[in-house]
Amino acid sequence: MKRSKILFTVLFLVGLILIGCSERENPADFPDINERGFKNDGVFTYPRAYSAISDHAGWQFFNFTVDKNFFTKLYAPPSFTPQGRPFPILYLLHDFEGDENYYFSRMVQWIADSLIYEGEIKEFYIASINASTPYGGTWYTDNEFFGWFETMVVDQWVAFIESTLEDQLRVISERESRAIGGFGMGGYGALKLAAKYPELYSSVSASTPAGSFQQIEDLIPMMIEEQGLSIPIDPDDYQDMDTTNLFTEKPYTMLFFSLAQAFSPHPEDGEPGYADSTTFLSFYGIDLPFDYNGNIYQPVFDKWLAHDLSAVFDTYGGNFDSIAVHLEVSDTNQFLFHQQAEDIRNSMDQNGINYSFDTYSGYTGYPAFNQRFVYDRLVEILKFHSENLVEEM
């Protein structure tokens, strides 16, 4: 009896020690290779995808109209080889203040690789382009003075990627395998171009798109305040708008100037077809849509409204019948984007356009201002297009 108790006690102590000695390990971060055959070492394939087309990625893209070089960049999926199987393609249009790096600096390449690795999306190319101007954006619109950006996107860019580079990469050059999307200004461009060119795109996404210019009226006081002006604005001050440090200090000024460049250019006083007006800024070659009293100047504003998405939908809304459309919007109201998106939804509804819709929020202390959640929303955007892009034709 006594011996058994000692044995009992010793066994108990040994058991405790054994439990304490056993080495535990955390699971490995990444398996060497997953069930789909994709290697995943935590670095993913971004450099590989680029290096595979190193002679051509980042090439210069000449836009004859504005005599300026433009840049485009391309993400190639993990299974890409120059003469391998062809893939669908998503063309992403950048937001205001962006350039061809807009999505790559927000790690679209890593997000796509991760989703492909997880089997969440198909493999497809993702292309981006630089459609910026010194005033932040072109609104993907043609005009003879500041550039043919609409034509550049739907014509030159698509042709360059899908034809000029066909020796280096194989794209399924069919509308069912071609999508377009964008954030902010890019969302505006994507919706407008998909509406106008349904023969090109079968899937379109717009995230927090701008494009209800009726709302712009409410932003006029912000711009005037940003310029340090008071009503009525002195004519000399009106002509001498301050455009220094636009990116960092004057977002409303930059927004108005970019819209004016796109929709109300005015190259020279007295130019045929352009009425002189008090809203003419001769130095910049634009008309602003408000007068010295900060009131809407209708002749100019009408030019802007002609490009409003509601006008686009009124004209081309029927073209969306064969296009998958996704609209999403932040729950914050920076630049009145939220209200603009509401207008856009109303117009889409009125024109009988079918679309999926989503809203997204930030988190406490970090609201979903325009650019903040591109990194996260790209996940949903890529999934949406993956569902609609056709891999084999």
Partner: protein, 490 residues
């Protein structure tokens, strides 16, 4: 015999039960006899460990004692991070069960005391023991490849390695407190009441490192996700001394009932040591080049590791504690005891650094702003501990003991951090035995610390400085303690 069998059965069930968990910032207690009685020793106080529990108890000793013991602690904490806000994650291993580093599964613990009765009513003693111990290392955070890729736009690079070397241990906490404890005790009323006073001369070492996410203050273009927080680490390696006192009173209320009360003052350890503040800057060539050279982003997105070395002082407060206990001699062979203690954990406000010198800053003020240390602020609650214990003397050659204690956690959910283990109330269950071999009494004891699995849900930033105050996720742990020791009486 039945008591022994019952105790062993309970311990075995606990040993092989998946529900058994344990842990805690504070592994406290001294002496095998006291520990095996669940710490219900304030009124018992009849061996050298009275130095710690109730110095008045030394006056109950009538022989010299030399004692030595060692407690082997096995921490087995687990943590499943869920560090998200509105489902947005920040780089922690969300939803993945993580375990602490087990490379040192046992922490030795030692104590010795010598008790010398002097004169007829005066006893002095001296002990060296370690009333607090904690040593844990975690890897619960990783740099996302999205944060950590830096690709040359020439596209000539082959597949790159993660740019920023990142430590495998992201959160570590190792504190040791050694108490040199001279004590004097006297009988105030013969065989009725005694008083003891001890000095706590304490040497503390404090080693703590933590990944801390700090808000990126650049403009939106350069601070959008996943760069809204910059990854920094603050590491403090310091030591110092502090002084406290403890006093105790012991009262023989009747032939069978003893009452005890004691107070341990708070001890402030004046720490001095090295403080390393590191910024793991993100690597993003696009953003780097998008910023002109006058923009701090141009430097930030180079994907460098910047470290500044500070000399820093700080105060580490070991909280005061007071309590009372009772011991009742049920029969000639069985004694029971109970103890109630209140620990003033609110006195511990964490570590605030007083930097005395700095080297290693860069020429970029924006970068340097992230090379300042982040104070380890804690706002803990006072906690109650209730202990009960029993000692049986079935045979003149050996004794058996068992105990249980319940201890409130001082750590509120708003202050839960992975380095402190499970922020839950703890249940200690212990048992032990001792055998007399001549003038030597040999001790053995086992105990377990059990805490329920705890889920901390709400990420908190109480002071709105953009730095999370707590770690959200699910905590669980398992702590087993094996103790051996001896006391020589002569």
């Amino acid at each position: 015999m039945r008591i022994f069998n019952t105790i062993m059965l309970i311990l075995l069930i606990l040993l092989f039960s998946g529900e058994v968990m344990a842990g805690g910032y504070n592994v406290s207690g001294v002496g095998l006899k006291a520990l095996s009685m669940g710490g219900a020793f304030r009124a018992v106080a009849d061996d050298w460990s009275a130095l710690y529990y109730n110095p008045a108890g030394l006056s109950n000793l009538y022989q010299h004692e030399i004692a030595f013991g060692i407690d082997l602690y096995s921490y087995r904490p687990e943590f499943t991070p869920q560090m998200t806000l509105n489902d947005y994650s920040f780089g922690y291993y969300d939803g993945e069960e993580r375990v602490s580093d087990d490379k040192i599964p046992y922490t030795p613990f030692g104590a010795a005391a010598f008790v010398l009765p002097m004169f007829e009513k005066l006893t002095v003693g001296f002990g060296v023991f370690q009333p607090y111990d904690h040593d844990v290392e975690w890897n619960v955070f990783k740099l996302s490849p999205a944060y950590n890729q830096y690709v040359d736009d020439s596209f000539d690079l082959p597949v790159v390695e993660p740019l920023v070397p990142f430590p495998e241990i992201t959160h570590a906490f190792n504190v040791d407190l050694i108490d040199f404890h001279p004590t004097i005790a006297a009988e105030l009323i013969e065989d009725r009441m005694s008083l003891g006073v001890g000095l706590s001369i304490r040497k503390g070492s404090y080693n703590r490192s933590e990944i801390i996410l700090r808000p990126n203050t650049l403009s939106e273009s350069f601070s959008s996700r996943p760069y809204e927080n910059l990854v920094t680490m603050t590491e403090y390696d310091a030591s110092g001394w502090g002084l406290g006192v403890n006093v105790g009173l012991l009262f023989q209320a009747s032939e069978k009932l003893k009452l005890g009360a004691s107070y341990q003052s708070k001890t402030t350890i004046d720490l001095s040591g090295d403080l390393y503040a590191t910024l793991y800057s993100p690597g993003n060539r696009h953003l780097e080049e998008f910023a002109d050279t006058a923009n701090p982003a141009n430097q930030l997105f180079k994907g460098e590791v910047y470290t500044a070395n500070h000399e820093a002082d700080a105060e580490w407060v070991i909280p005061s504690e007071f309590g009372f206990g009772l011991a009742y001699q049920l029969s000639e062979r069985v004694m029971i005891a109970a103890d109630f203690a209140y620990i003033m954990w609110s006195e511990n406000e964490g570590i605030e650094f007083d930097v005395t010198s700095t080297t290693g800053l860069t020429e970029f003020s924006f970068i340097n702003g992230y090379l300042t240390p982040v104070d380890f602020i804690e706002e803990w609650d006072d906690a109650l501990r209730i202990s009960v214990g029993v000692e049986g003397h079935p045979h003149e050659k050996y004794k058996l003991r068992g105990g249980y204690s319940f201890e409130q956690t001082p750590i509120p959910e708003e202050g839960a951090r992975v380095i402190f283990d499970n922020p839950a109330d703890r249940h200690h269950l212990s048992g032990g035995a001792s055998v007399y071999v001549g003038i030597v009494e040999l001790y053995g004891a086992v105990s377990m610390i059990i805490t329920p699995e705890t889920t901390v849900s709400d990420l908190v930033d109480a002071d709105e400085d953009g730095i999370f105050d707590n770690h959200t996720g699910t905590y669980s742990d398992f702590t087993a303690v094996t103790s051996i020791g001896f006391t020589v009486r002569f």
